[in-house]
Amino acid sequence: MTLKRRREILIKLGMAAMPALVILLWQIGFVLFGELILPSPLKTFSVLKAGLIERGWLLSDLKDTMIELLFGYLFAVILGLLVGFVLGMNRFLREVLEPFVLNVYAIPKVTLFPIFLFAFGLGMDSKVAFGFFHGIFPIIILTMGAIKDIKGVYIKVGRSFRLNPFQVYKEIVFPSILPSLMTGLRLGFNLSFIGVILGEMAASKSGLGYALMRSEGAFYMEKIISIVVVLAVIALAVNSFCYAIEGRLMRVRGT
């Protein structure tokens, strides 16, 4: 038992040490390559701090990105759940449309971004649409799969209890698809986020992706790394929140 506990402690320590390791490697890189190519962690963090608090160079771009992400993701969730639900219920439609949905995954979607620019212009609308376009597919796929996989027996049990259709949804369908639904919503968020950032990097007037490209042009490495850190922190925060909910749902189900 003690051996097992010591191993658990080692694992926890290892997990915690990983970010420190990254920063250490970063510092070594700074010493090797010099300020111009790789700025030091310390200087980068002071630039990041200035961006978030003192000078606020990051804040307006951050705000625009978050607005685009919020709307793009919201539309993706609403439409994705709807389409996924319909495809999950109707086997014929599902088998017809599934290959289209699956193939969109494999296409480098950025190359289609000019179409969004034509339709929605250079402003924030095109990023909202692009975030939506990225995020909707995992939501469709996981909702569809979850509904398809509900065991027929459960529904039969519901019928034998004389539940009305509304109750069947509330008591049986919804609880059994909830875990996959959460996974779909999480993956949808990740892809919407990527879509928005890619759109901003490709052609934009504001946003963190645009700030990345602007800093690249100015060779301002501290700013680039700061933005990467901000993006990573947002993504990780949302994901660990989702993982916590998913884990809880799994425990409630007892699986």
Partner: protein, 263 residues
């Protein structure tokens, strides 16, 4: 009519119908031709580009379609090759050393949550615009999928019976790995390779689109900014066709591999 053929027919009519709608919208002028070229023209332009071998756009550094295709293809192959070369051994390492796997697990599973693409400007800062940066980006996209699926693949091989069979046949440890674990993990390994290859394609073409001077992704970008809408749609079509064909082929092989194991 048989169900499968009915589905097949509907599938194709959906595709053709959608293309037809776009064709009509563009031909009747509901959307201007400078915004949306008719679908038939996309194919014709693409065909012309292939026949003449060149892209009639001024100021384009490398205007041959074969040249751009070759560059994109080499970047994808290189990034995929190194993703497998480095990803497979790391995956096996994680399977062998469970503690290490547990430590790295949270970082590996959240890797694709981070917009990894944001690193591209940083990489360009280090290595400049060119094949090296783009290949590195494709590699960054692909490698974690290979690592994760390799580790899962070996993990899922039956640990109770298969190794015992190997030992009772007095196979050496390396032979047990080569003849029992490796074939057992093959479907998962292939899933890793499939995802790795597709991520390589996405990473490479996206990088070309965002910031580069050559390649298929750049072709779309360049013709967009040069207002060459026809060429832009033709090169988009080419990219979509390539991606869908490769994805389809890989999915077939994958289904065959899983089916063969009787799962």
């Amino acid at each position: 009519m048989k169900r499968t053929s009915k589905i097949k027919i509907t599938k194709w009519s959906v595709l053709v119908g959608a293309a037809g709608c776009l064709e009509v919208i563009s031909r009747t002028g509901m959307i201007k031709r400078s915004t949306l070229t008719p679908v038939s023209d996309m194919f014709i332009t693409l065909w012309k580009l292939f026949i003449t071998g060149g892209i009639p756009v001024r100021f384009l550094k490398d205007s041959s379609i074969a040249g751009n295709f070759f560059i994109t293809f080499s970047e994808i192959s290189l990034s995929f090759f190194f993703a497998v070369l480095i990803g497979l051994p790391i995956g096996i390492l994680l399977w062998k050393f469970k503690t290490l796997a547990r430590i790295l697990n949270p970082y590996l599973v959240s890797y694709y949550a981070i917009p990894v693409f944001a690193l591209y400007p940083l990489i360009v800062g280090f290595f400049g615009i060119g094949i090296l940066s783009i290949t590195l980006m494709g590699w960054l996209f692909a490698i974690v999928a290979v690592i994760i699926n390799t580790a899962t693949g070996f993990e899922e091989v039956d640990k109770r019976i298969y190794p015992k069979v190997g030992r009772s046949l007095r196979l050496s440890r390396s032979k047990i790995f080569l003849w029992i674990y490796f074939p057992g993990a093959t479907p998962h390994l292939f899933t890793g390779l499939k995802l790795g290859f597709i991520y390589s394609i996405i990473g490479v073409i996206a990088s070309e689109f965002i910031l580069s001077t050559k390649g298929l992704g750049y072709l779309v970008r360049f013709s967009y900014s040069a207002f060459e809408t026809e060429i832009m749609y033709a090169s988009m079509l080419l990219i979509v066709i390539i991606a869908v064909l490769i994805n389809g082929a890989l999915m077939r092989v994958e289904a065959w591999l899983y089916g063969r194991q009787g799962r």
